[in-house]
């Protein structure tokens, strides 16, 4: 497919890499000559230097031939203009733009009424707020991903010192009777991604991903040695940016008492004007004495969501030391991500990864119902629909011959039944498969599961 990406920043580059590897022809438009030179060196793609809001620049980039247009520049205005230009200049079937304004819903309406068809508007703050709200009540849990409309959950958890499962093999564990519809799907250990077998041993510091039906989620967490979470009553948020406000509002709606730290006085006043029940504090949340005095020891969750990655990391570590069980840090720079988790921060969220995940999910929709990338896209969890012509359908799993480095974590029957497959389980057409795979296997896997009919979609 011919894909045009406006904006060659981190998100644009990540998307380009993925889309190129999946065999697409990608053109990137970026205004900075230096950035373009860099992209040119990295990617097998056409790079056009120019402002994406200029009609001529987009024509030069071949917008008339583009089948998909993705606008992820740093400026909302430019992204909106790209959508508008694409509407008249191209035959693109799919248009995706990223907006950072909190007016995103209104823009959705405006675009629709003005006849500009945009298939997906990404608002990273909303995505992040949602993912934070999914894990905020679960100390020890780093992330929760949902599949099959929420029927299946993939729960990431860190094994901390003292957890009874440490040192045991998966075989021993399954002898203890875990919930039937649950499975340890992946282990991240240091830089390694392990798709485990029964002989694997769990170690302190591992990040373990457990796949489970929603009904068994709580039991699975208990089985994995996580403490029963205390009810969420008080939360600290650092940083009065859009994300901080978003999350504070979501928490206010659940009657949680929120204290929000904002260093800038004027900004603090503006935030206080927006949030009704949150206590806004004009103080530096990376200062230990301040945090202690404000009562950090009594909070159930601490969210470091300032613009500054380093501050977020420092504050999160402080909060851990003060005994907060749930700590979330916003990390913008992707290369910090794997390191931060090793520093004891339970959960990291990244607006860029959130945007990339959402766009990839959308781009591959049809064959792939959803996709989640891990570890800077080394591994993926994909939700696929088994097409009637797939070579896996109608056979027991042990004979189906799935590609190497892939594991079928769960399958969901059209009736909604969640099954953790064993060797004798038979895949039926219409089943949703949740498959774990290393990234390079993904294209093969998609084609094979969907069958020939799905390929053109």
């Amino acid at each position: 497919m011919n894909i045009l990406i406006a904006g060659g920043g981190q998100v644009g580059a990540l998307l380009a890499r993925r889309l190129i590897r999946e065999g697409n022809a990608v053109t990137i438009v970026d205004p900075s000559p230096e950035r373009c030179a860099e992209l040119e060196a990295q990617f097998d793609a056409r790079i056009v230097t120019g402002n994406a809001a200029r009609v001529l620049a987009l024509r030069e980039a071949g917008i008339d031939r583009a089948e998909m247009v993705i606008a992820v520049t740093d400026h909302d205005e430019v992204n909106l203009l790209v959508a508008q230009i694409a509407q008249v200049e191209s035959q693109a079937r799919v248009k995706v733009i990223r907006l950072r304004t909190h007016e995103v819903q209104h823009w959705h309406d405006v675009l629709q009424k003005s006849g500009v068809h945009v298939d997906l508007i990404i608002h990273p703050e909303t995505e992040l707020a949602e993912s934070i709200m999914r894990v905020i009540r679960l100390p020890g849990v780093s992330d929760v991903h949902e599949f099959a409309g929420g029927a299946v959950q993939l729960i990431g958890m860190s094994l901390e010192a003292g957890n009874p499962v440490i040192g045991r093999t998966l075989e021993r564990l399954s002898a203890d009777g875990p919930p039937a519809d649950s499975l340890i799907a992946m282990i991240f250990r240091g830089p390694q991604v392990i798709i485990p077998r029964g002989s694997a041993v769990l170690a302190e510091g591992d990040r373990v991903f457990v796949l489970t039906s929603r009904a068994s989620a709580a039991e699975s967490m208990r089985f994995m040695g996580l403490a029963t979470p205390a009810p969420l009553k008080r939360v600290f948020i650092l940083g009065g940016g859009q994300l901080g406000i978003h999350v504070a509002q979501a928490l206010e709606a659940q009657d949680v008492r929120v204290k929000l730290f904002e260093r800038d006085r004027a900004r603090a006043e503006r935030v206080a004007a927006i949030l009704r029940d949150t206590t806004v504090v004009n103080a530096d949340g990376t200062d230990e004495a301040t945090l202690e005095e404000e009562g950090a020891a009594d909070v159930q969750a601490f969210l470091a969501l300032t613009k500054d990655d380093e501050n977020n990391i420092i504050a999160s570590m402080l909060a851990r030391r003060l005994g907060v069980s749930k700590v979330v840090a916003l990390i913008n720079r992707l290369n910090y991500l794997s390191m931060v988790q090793r520093l004891g921060v339970n959960t990291t969220v990244s607006p860029r990864l959130a945007a990339v995940d959402r766009i990839l999910q959308f781009v591959r929709r049809g064959r792939v119902l959803s996709v989640t990338t891990f570890r800077d896209e080394e591994a993926e969890a994909i939700e696929l629909l088994a097409g009637p012509e797939s070579r896996f359908v109608g056979k027991p799993m042990r004979e189906a011959n799935f590609p190497k480095d892939t594991v079928v974590g769960a399958l969901v029957r059209p009736t909604g039944e969640v099954i953790v497959p064993r060797g004798h389980t038979v895949v039926q057409a219409g089943d949703r498969l949740i498959v774990f795979a290393l990234e390079r296997m993904v294209p093969t896997l998609e084609a094979a599961v969907a069958g020939r009919a799905g390929k053109g979609a």
Binding site: A272, I274, N282
Partner: protein, 483 residues
């Protein structure tokens, strides 16, 4: 720099409009065939003469007024209206001297309703009509009337409107100020017609009905009877007037939204209207209970009297359905407190206004929070919306200023030898445009016996209060006159 000619020209036009309004009672007199309209014609002629002279003198002057000129003009207009509007009284019997007519007219235009007349029933019909008509004009605003009908001022219009129209809330109905003024006057006229018809149905004479309509809508308080509304012994009329006083104490901007734009939910959900209604309900209940228990009133009489008097005082009208001076001390204290609060912003009522009173409460509660959370940043909210710090500050300043005027007024009145209760309540009743106080200026009394100096102090207090203190007092500061 102030441009005297530009100000005088505008002032001239205001006087011409004022002269024209004096002819309305003349028409009433001619239509009814009563005599006594001659003083009005004389007053109108003199006012028009001076007005035409000023307008002519400034005919080449600029139309667009600057901020300072607009402020000065509004102050001058109110003093000129009180002086020239009193001419018909001066030319008629029963009034003795310029001090008295200035007081009576200022009391009329500022919708105070305090009278120097021991017995109002002796006045000729056209003069009586004029007295009440000043309430009706002054309620919505002399300046606003002129802005609505004459393009006398250009850009200055908004400045004038702000200086005269009450409100911490900058509601503006239409993009153009003249259209806003017109819209407000239409609602005002519509409500007036409704009350007039209802009072006629309740059995009042056309003259009594129209006079009390004027006094109700402007939240004035002049009556054609010495015993005020109580003089009619007509419970139905008392209820009608109580309801219309309540309506006049609500913002006319909100009336517009309600009747023209049908925004029922947003208007009925408005925090100020809710607070206002709550205050009226609570005070009415407390006073009615006190009257039944402590004074042995029948329930119907107690509720009617309480509802009437609470509406009358909180909207700063100042009608009396009975001599509440004879009621219990609790009722007096409650009524005195209501005097300070007043009606809603954007109404014809005086007082510091309900929205400001609510805001004061919020400021106090924020200070409490700040003591507990010393690094906390808290916004002051009214109706869910955060109020900018600048506005909060200016409201606080306004309240200080009002208390200062209150204090100075009391000292000056006491200095003229007036007793304490009378001094206190007379100043409050005048500066918040209520009318009757307690003691020697109670509902069954009048202001005629006060010393001349006291009358002048109270006249200035009335105008200061009507212009919400800042406008008048800023003109008296040296900063204003420094170039």
């Amino acid at each position: 720099m102030l441009r005297p000619l530009a100000i005088l020209r505008a002032l001239g036009w205001f006087l011409l409009v004022l002269a024209a309004t004096m002819l309305v009672p003349v028409l009433w007199g001619l239509a009814r065939g009563t005599g006594g309209w001659l003083p009005l014609v004389q007053g109108a002629a003199l006012t028009a003469f001076v007005g035409a002279g000023l307008a002519l003198a400034g005919r080449y002057a600029a139309r667009d007024l600057q901020q300072r000129e607009a402020l000065l003009l509004v102050v001058l207009v109110w003093f000129a209206a009180s002086a020239f509007g009193g001419l018909p009284f001066l030319f008629s019997p029963h009034f003795t001297g310029f001090t008295d007519t200035f007081f009576e007219t200022a009391s009329g235009f500022t919708t105070t309703g305090a009278s120097i007349l021991p017995n109002v029933e002796v006045l000729d019909e056209p003069i009586q009509f004029w007295r009440h008509f000043t309430h009706w004009i002054g309620g919505m605003g002399i300046v606003l009337l002129v802005i609505a009908i004459l393009p006398v001022v250009g850009h200055g219009g908004m400045l004038l409107y702000r200086a005269e129209f009450s409100g911490a809330r900058s509601d503006r109905l239409k993009p153009r100020i003249a259209e806003t003024a017109m819209a407000l006057w239409k609602i005002y006229v519509a409500l007036s017609i409704a009350e007039f018809v209802l009072l006629r149905v309740a059995g009042l004479s056309p003259f009594d009905a129209i006079c009390h309509t004027f006094a109700t809508l402007g939240t004035g308080g002049f009556s054609t009877r010495a015993a005020s509304v109580g003089g009619f012994r007509n419970p139905a009329a008392e209820w009608i007037i109580a309801v219309f006083m309540f309506l006049s104490g609500m913002s006319f901007i909100q009336h517009y939204r309600l009747f023209r734009e049908r925004q029922w939910r947003s208007v009925l959900g408005d925090y100020e209207i809710r607070a206002f209604a709550l205050l009226v309900a609570l005070a009415t209940t407390a006073i009615a209970v006190s009257l039944v228990w402590q004074s042995g009133f029948g329930v119907e009489r107690a509720v009617r009297g309480a509802a009437f008097q609470v509406s009358s005082i909180i909207t700063t009208t100042g009608f009396a359905s009975e001599d509440y001076e004879q009621w219990t001390p609790l009722t007096h204290v409650l009524l005195l407190l209501l005097m300070y609060i007043g009606g809603c912003t954007g109404s014809t009522a005086g007082g510091i206004k309900v929205s400001r009173a609510v805001l004061l409460g919020r400021v106090v509660s924020r200070e409490m929070k700040r003591i507990v959370e010393r690094r906390g940043v808290f916004a002051i909210r009214l109706g869910g919306e955060a109020i900018p710090e600048g506005t909060v500050q200016s409201v606080l300043n306004l309240v200080y200023l009002a208390l200062l005027v209150n204090a100075v007024g009391m000292v000056l009145l006491a200095a003229t030898g007036v007793d304490v209760l009378t001094s206190i309540t007379a100043v409050v009743a005048c500066m918040f445009n209520i009318g009757p106080g307690l003691g020697l200026v109670g509902p069954a009394e009048h202001y005629g016996h006060l010393p001349a100096l006291a009358k002048w102090v109270l006249s200035v207090a009335m105008i200061a209060g009507r212009l919400e203190f800042y406008t008048l007092i800023v003109v008296l500061t040296p900063t204003f006159w420094r170039r």
